[in-house]
């Protein structure tokens, strides 16, 4: 199959890009691994804004393919993708990478127990039907996501036992003081919903306790260790940009993010990138960057340039966001020598920390060589060591059947 504009990712950035490009007359194809559009933040499209955007996407004329994983480029202009019916070969003229971000999951004793999930992770699982009514949940980690997750889980009947944010209250207050009114209101609404929930700052997990599943968590707090009995520990420490596909294309990175100009163009001709992979910065930034990229991909850079002031403003906001929720050094000490860091291969920190670079660690301990291809342990080790080096990316970007990799063309249907 082919399209003028191929967009990878149907989260907010991808949706905005698709609308801008398709409404501008381009022939657009949107591809996404998840079963439905919306990405992570709009996973079940409950709120009005999400619904409006998705309706607009469906009306735009863009073709949407969910359940589709990009495996990598097979030549300069063709992508190999995988879906339930087998391989897809997608030829593109302009490529917009809106691959979003994933949660930063950090290791601590007991983090591999059933019941310990990401913060957004638990929300996503609940949106997929995981029963949470009446279950006790501790939400921990860092970022504005924690409050949103806690409120959302409560709506589904969860009992929120505590919210543990690692940031210092001073940093949070300073962030809040510079928020535009709309955001303040949103934040206040959230915290008033959660008024009766113990909110701990400068707090993080010491240990998740349980035998075959989680039954309690010990948190480090300013006033000492506190234990909370719980059925779920929803714990995420911010976001990690999904830069694997841009890396595979040879896009330049800067500080772990994809380098783009004000028109969202990467260092590779005809490849644009929008949203979290260019810098973690929230919903509005993703939407504006997606829109800009969509206009540029459809050959309408003037429309894109008209949005540059908005883009600038949102970039400043996201810088403040990053500062407020910066992760403390002490979080590195959550991980003990015998804590599993590579979950796919069961490799403990003690073995990994013996190596001074990621490639050596991978080769000699097998960490990062499992099914997640280093997405979880790689990000954790980058935080634990302070080293930002990324391993080279190679296809398949996601595990894929051997038949798909061996296919020379799409299967005939009919």
């Amino acid at each position: 199959m082919q399209a003028d504009v191929v967009i990878v990712g149907s989260g907010p950035a991808g949706i905005a890009a698709a609308c801008a490009a398709a409404e501008g007359g381009a022939n657009v194809l949107v591809l996404d691994d998840n079963p439905a559009p919306g990405g992570q933040i709009w996973r079940r499209a409950h709120d009005a804004e999400a619904q409006r955007w998705i309706a607009r996407l469906r009306a735009s004329g863009a073709q949407l393919r969910n359940g589709t994983r990009i495996l990598g480029p097979v030549n300069a202009r063709t992508l190999l993708a995988d879906n339930d019916s087998g391989p897809l070969f997608i030829t593109w003229r302009n490529l917009v990478l809106c691959t979003g971000a994933r949660e930063l999951l950090l290791p601590f004793p007991g983090w591999t127990l059933p019941g310990v999930t990401g913060a957004g992770g638990l929300q996503a699982l609940v949106q997929g039907g995981l029963p949470i009514d009446g279950r006790r949940v501790v939400v921990a980690g860092s970022g504005p996501l924690l409050l949103a997750v806690a409120a959302h889980l409560r709506e589904h009947g969860a009992r929120i036992e505590a919210i543990a944010e690692q940031a210092r209250p001073f940093h949070l207050a300073r962030f809040a003081a510079r928020l535009p009114f709309g955001k303040l209101l949103q934040g206040w609404r959230l915290s008033s919903q959660l008024r009766d929930v113990p909110m701990l700052t400068e707090a993080w997990p010491i240990e998740a306790e349980g035998d075959s599943r989680l039954h309690s968590v010990r948190l480090r707090t300013r006033s000492g260790t506190r234990r909370f009995e719980c059925d779920y520990l929803a714990c995420g420490f911010g976001l990690v940009p999904n830069i694997e596909l841009p890396l595979l294309f040879g896009c330049n990175l800067n500080g772990g993010f994809v380098t783009v100009d004000s028109l969202q163009q990467t260092s590779v001709p005809d490849i644009l990138c929008a949203g979290e992979p260019t810098g973690v910065g929230g919903l509005e930034r993703s939407l504006i960057e997606g829109e800009i990229a969509g206009h540029v991909a459809a050959g309408a850079p003037a429309r894109a340039k008209a949005l540059s002031a908005q883009r600038e403003r949102l970039h400043r906001f996201s810088a403040r966001l990053a500062n407020a929720f910066e992760l403390r050094e002490e979080l590195r000490q959550m991980c003990q020598l015998d804590t599993i860091v590579c979950r796919c291969e069961d490799v403990a920190w003690e073995r990994i920390s013996a190596y001074s670079d990621w490639r050596s660690a991978k080769l000699h301990t097998r960490c990062g060589m499992g099914a997640c291809q280093g997405r979880v342990c790689g990000a954790a080790v980058r935080f634990l060591t302070g080293r930002s080096s990324h391993d080279r990316a190679r296809p398949p970007l996601f595990p894929a059947s051997m038949a798909t990799l061996a296919a020379e063309k799409e299967p005939d249907h009919g």
Partner: protein, 354 residues
């Protein structure tokens, strides 16, 4: 370390084995590598410890080396994943079965244990092989190993210096940062990169591809190799593939093999990868639906006659080569190390003695 008795350039399986052997003989050794230990061709090998019968020389070296590995095995740590799973050379048709008979006889004459498998025995030994294959030859003493960890283990406490070598001379190694090391012998075990130090060496990189699956324990039990592998490996065709599958200790299935000259990019070459995988389906059809986690490439150091370059190499005195092993570097690393040690110490190498 000042004035080591030997400097080994290259911390892959061959260099590590040489360093280990020389160390055991009481020499002081320094190993130099510009990259990750075991990170070159060693990381792209299948780790198959195999006896090959292409020539008497190759047979002698592989058979003796394999026996050295079998002796060493009990000492190896768990992460080396040593498994004596054996090899089955698969005969697809009657013609190949006849070749297998000859192999069986040839090995038998030389005291290498092998067992003929007819079609039924083959199917019993490996239920996932497609029906209709003629049979095979089981070599029960062949084994597999995870070579990067073996290289690291062999290096053990040998002095290691990260760095690039810009030139060598007799008893002299000069690094790119200007440091010079005065030493006794210099051993070049750098794989394809040997042509940087010896531009007139007849060494060519021969690119290979590998794919590894998620965990499917018990899917295959032996290293499976098609007879056509020998033609691919020993031939000089520009491009060839040959079926090769290995059970890893993790339960993952490692699939190879491909060979290409004139392709020095380490990127995946999709057409040949597809050929390689499709060839594998001819033998193990169920591979089609198995999840592949990774693919990668590597470069074998290939010589015109397919035999490795092991021993003193002019014009400088006390400079030795240990390279050109093509696809047998891991197997023959230990035998190579013995030859190198013998040359350095001025002894005669007697493979028959233990």
């Amino acid at each position: 370390m000042s004035h080591p008795d030997a400097v080994v350039i290259g911390a892959g399986i061959v260099g590590a084995a040489c360093a280990w052997m020389l160390s055991r003989e009481g020499l002081s050794v320094t190993v130099i590598d510009e990259g990750v230990i075991g990170g070159g061709a060693t990381a792209a090998g299948m780790g198959h410890l195999v006896v090959m019968d292409d020539s008497e020389a190759e047979f002698t070296l592989t058979r003796h080396s394999r026996d050295l590995w079998l002796t060493l095995a009990p000492e190896l740590p768990e992460d080396c994943e040593f498994r004596q799973c054996g090899t089955i050379w698969v005969a697809a048709d009657e013609e190949e079965l006849a070749a297998v008979h000859r192999k069986h006889a040839w090995y038998g004459e030389r005291g290498v244990r092998t067992e003929m498998l007819d079609a039924r025995a083959l199917a019993e030994a490996e239920p996932h092989l497609r029906p209709g294959l003629a049979g095979g030859l089981l070599v029960p003493d062949d084994a597999v190993i995870y070579a990067p960890c073996a290289a690291r283990w062999l290096l053990g406490r040998v002095a290691f210096r990260a760095g690039s070598v810009s030139r060598i001379g007799s008893g002299l190694v000069v690094l790119e940062d200007g440091e010079t090391i005065d030493c006794g012998a210099v051993i070049c075990a750098t794989g394809c990169a040997a042509i940087r130090l010896f531009p007139d060496l007849q060494l060519r990189p021969r690119k290979g591809h590998l794919a590894i699956t998620d965990r499917y324990p018990g899917f295959v039990r032996h290293q499976l190799v098609e007879l056509g592998y020998l033609k691919s490996a020993h031939g000089t065709a520009a491009e060839s593939v040959a079926f090769n599958a290995q059970p890893r200790a993790t339960g993952q299935v490692l699939v190879g093999s491909s060979r290409q000259f004139e392709n020095d990019s380490s990127e995946i070459d999709w057409p040949i990868l597809r050929r390689m995988l499709n060839r594998a389906f001819d033998f193990l059809p169920a591979l089609r639906s198995m999840s592949v986690i990774r693919t990668w490439t590597g470069f074998r150091a290939a010589t015109p006659d397919g035999l490795p370059l092991i021993g003193p190499y002019g014009p400088h005195e006390n400079v030795l080569l240990a390279t050109g092993h093509e696809g047998l570097g891991i197997t023959t690393s230990l035998g190579t190390a013995e030859l190198i040690a013998a040359a350095v110490l001025g002894k005669t190498w007697l493979p028959a003695s233990k």
